[in-house]
């Protein structure tokens, strides 16, 4: 059975100009020990999807649809119900470890806080667990690291501490929102390897949110590509990256510096992603799609399946993309 089952999730935020759907009719599943990558540009709803699982939506966000986490329906949870699972069963790490760690508190205080709160363990037991966690995330000299403050560590080490903090209560699900975007490429790989090791060791399920397809290629088993709050394509990572089926996914991959184009010129997707509250009707991508037809403007795109796990949302017959898609 899957750990997380999201069905027809819609997240509505209260913006200055009225309610707007940031996530629209999203359905996906995550198995135990699986790493799912959610990719999309800013405003595509990937972070809002994650925050709805944690009950941390901003702008008076409301959810509808269903999120089954470990057999439990989360949609409709009250604040105190979320507090019971957040940090314990579901944990999250963010892009910038300097803002997710408290600058004035020692590493020990921050690492033991969850344990003391959720598990009511003694101070000594919490300290022992904290040392073990620092060792897990490969912080050199864990004993002295405990008494240090976040500012005494480099960016990569801070992200490791943030991961240790997230792991404190042995969560079933870890959500990592742009975990390596703020890091140098030379330390990024270490964090990717760490996440992979944790999945293997603890059978941890991970959702990685990023715009970086290179990172997802290294890390994710399956991908979910989002545009304007909705899924455009999902499937096995290697299949999506080597033979994308949706015109948007094709465009994203072609735009990468080491793929398409000739000479110094890259292949760019014309136009720009729509803003929240201004998502085009029908298939939101129709305004930028080279295959768009009249019906794409009205109809919610059709679900088309490929192989065992591949799926796109596109009204136009996808075999047409392949014939004319490669220029």
């Amino acid at each position: 059975m899957s750990l997380l089952k999201v069905k027809d999730l819609t997240v509505t935020l209260m913006t200055g100009s009225g309610p707007a759907d940031a996530v629209r009719r999203l359905s996906f599943e995550l198995n135990h020990g699986e790493i799912l990558g959610i990719a999309g540009e800013s405003g595509s709803g990937k972070t809002m999807t994650a925050l709805s699982i944690l009950g941390l939506l901003p702008y008076k966000g409301k959810t509808s649809g269903s999120i089954l986490f470990d057999g439990q329906e989360i949609v409709g949870f009250k604040a105190e119900q979320f507090r019971k699972i957040r940090g314990k069963d579901v944990a999250m790490i963010f892009q910038d470890p300097m803002t997710s760690l408290h600058p004035m508190l020692t590493v020990e205080t921050q690492l033991t806080e969850h344990l003391r709160h959720h598990r009511k363990v003694s101070k000594d037991a919490a300290r022992a667990k904290a040392l073990e966690l620092l060792d897990t995330v490969k912080i050199p000299d864990p004993a002295s690291a405990l008494t240090a403050h976040p500012s005494q560590f480099s960016g990569g080490m801070r992200q490791r501490i943030a991961i240790a903090m997230a792991l404190a209560c042995d969560p079933k699900l870890l959500i990592a929102d742009e975990p390596t975007t703020a890091l140098d490429v030379t330390v990024q790989a270490g964090i990717l390897q760490l996440l992979k090791d944790l999945r293997k060791r603890d059978n941890l399920s991970v959702i990685v949110i990023t715009h970086d397809l290179g990172v997802l290629s290294s890390l994710a088993d399956r991908l979910l590509i989002m545009y304007a709050g909705a899924e455009v394509e999902s499937g096995i990572t290697s299949q999506i990256l080597t033979s994308p089926k949706h015109p948007y996914t094709q465009g994203l991959i072609e735009a990468l510096p080491d793929s398409g184009g000739s000479g110094k010129n890259l292949i760019a997707i014309e136009g720009m992603p729509p803003e929240l509250g201004k998502f085009p009707s029908g298939c939101a991508f129709h305004t930028r799609c080279r295959f768009a037809q009249e019906r794409c403007k009205q109809d919610w795109p059709t679900q088309v399946h490929f192989g065992s796990q591949g799926r796109i949302y596109c009204t136009v017959n996808p075999s047409a993309h392949e014939k004319t898609g490669q220029s």
Binding site: E41, S42, S154, G155, G156, M157, D184, V185, T186, V187, Q188, A189, G190, L192, Q193, K196, H211, D212, L213, G214, V215, L216, S217, S218, L219, A220, D221, T237, S238, Q239, I240, L241, T242, G251, L252, I253, A255, L256, P257, D258, S259, G261, K264, N265, L266, I267, A268, I269, G271, M272, P273, E275
Partner: protein, 323 residues
């Protein structure tokens, strides 16, 4: 090189922090030719932005010299600058921070030409045509920065840099803050402008895959020093400095192989206390005993590359390095 637009020789830049002098740039030589894109890469904190800012004169060099078309670049002060340097422009990473939120786009672009003596109406006309050139509607002149998206704002910043027909542009992470789909478009715009106006551009970036794609030459910087320079192809095909090798091997590729790239152990050291000898030696897998005491000399390779590594001096660089 006599045909260089920018010639940086033995440049050092210092900051003072807590009474201690920090050498962010320590003896750098680079040249930029017309029509050339030079990629400047390195980890954060290596001094690449400081170098860029010193080249245009936002910061003052402690030692050495920057020549722009043969004239020494002085730090920008309160007084009026020599009009010679109008043709040397900079684009910054964050177009939210580099545009004035309270002034119309057109006025901000017209500033440069007006300082160069163009009348206001002509300068505004020029602003319109530049906005069209960078792919924005001409009526954008009467609008404000907040009415545009990140990618569009970066185009505005580019239009402003182009307003007085620069011959050289320093672009500091110009596409890093943009969305994936605008990155490719803005990169294309920069490449086309460099060709169209035969400008030189120093493209500062931590994103090696884009640097590989658009740069003619690459300079790799580590802790204030350039460790390797050369033609982009040569550097990618056979990096000759261990640090360059590590940087290239660390790039993840979206090829669907679940391959985790190389992790270079350790962090960039504190520039206030740079390691002795070769600054990379504490992280270098092939460091020799002399690397901690002897500063490596610049060696010229057959293909014209310059690299600072004792193993290249001695000709004993191993073919493959495991990190």
């Amino acid at each position: 090189m006599s045909n260089s637009i920018i010639e940086v020789s033995n440049l050092s830049v210092e900051y003072t922090r807590n009474g201690k002098k920090i050498r962010a740039v320590a003896g750098v030589d680079i040249q930029l030719a017309p029509g050339e894109i030079l990629g400047l890469v390195g980890e954060s904190g290596c001094g690449k932005s400081t170098l860029g800012k010193t080249i245009v004169g936002i910061l003052k060099g402690a030692e050495g010299e920057v020549l722009f078309n043969g004239k020494s670049v002085e730090k920008i002060g309160r007084g009026r600058r020599d009009p010679h340097f109008l043709n040397l422009q900079m684009i910054f990473q964050d177009p939210y921070g580099s545009l004035n939120p309270r002034r119309k786009i057109g006025e901000q672009i017209a500033d440069g030409p007006m300082i160069a003596g163009v009348s206001k109406s002509d300068a505004l006309k020029k602003a319109q045509s530049l906005l069209e050139r960078v792919g924005l509607p001409a009526n954008a002149v009467d609008r404000f920065p907040h009415q545009f998206s990140g990618g569009q704002r970066q185009r505005i910043a580019i239009a402003r840099a182009l307003a007085i027909s620069p011959t050289a542009i320093i672009a500091d992470e110009p596409i890093s803050a943009l969305d994936t789909s605008s990155q490719a478009a803005v990169a294309n715009l920069l490449v086309n402008l460099v060709e169209e106006f035969n400008m030189g551009m120093i493209f500062i970036s931590h994103d090696l895959s884009i640097v590989r794609r658009i740069s003619d030459r690459v300079a790799v910087m580590y802790l204030g020093k350039i460790v390797e320079t050369g033609k982009t192809e040569d550097i990618w095909n056979s990096p000759s400095h261990p640090y360059t090798k590590a940087l290239i091997a660390a790039i993840p590729h979206a090829d669907g192989q679940s391959f985790v790239p190389l992790d270079l152990p350790g962090d960039v050291p504190n520039p206030a206390f740079p390691p002795s000898g070769c600054r990379f030696h504490p992280r270098c897998p092939v460091a020799q005993s002399q690397c901690s005491s002897v500063e490596p000399l610049k060696v010229s390779l057959k293909d014209g590359r310059e690299v600072s590594c004792v193993l290249q001096e001695a000709g004993t660089m191993p073919k493959a390095i495991t990190f």
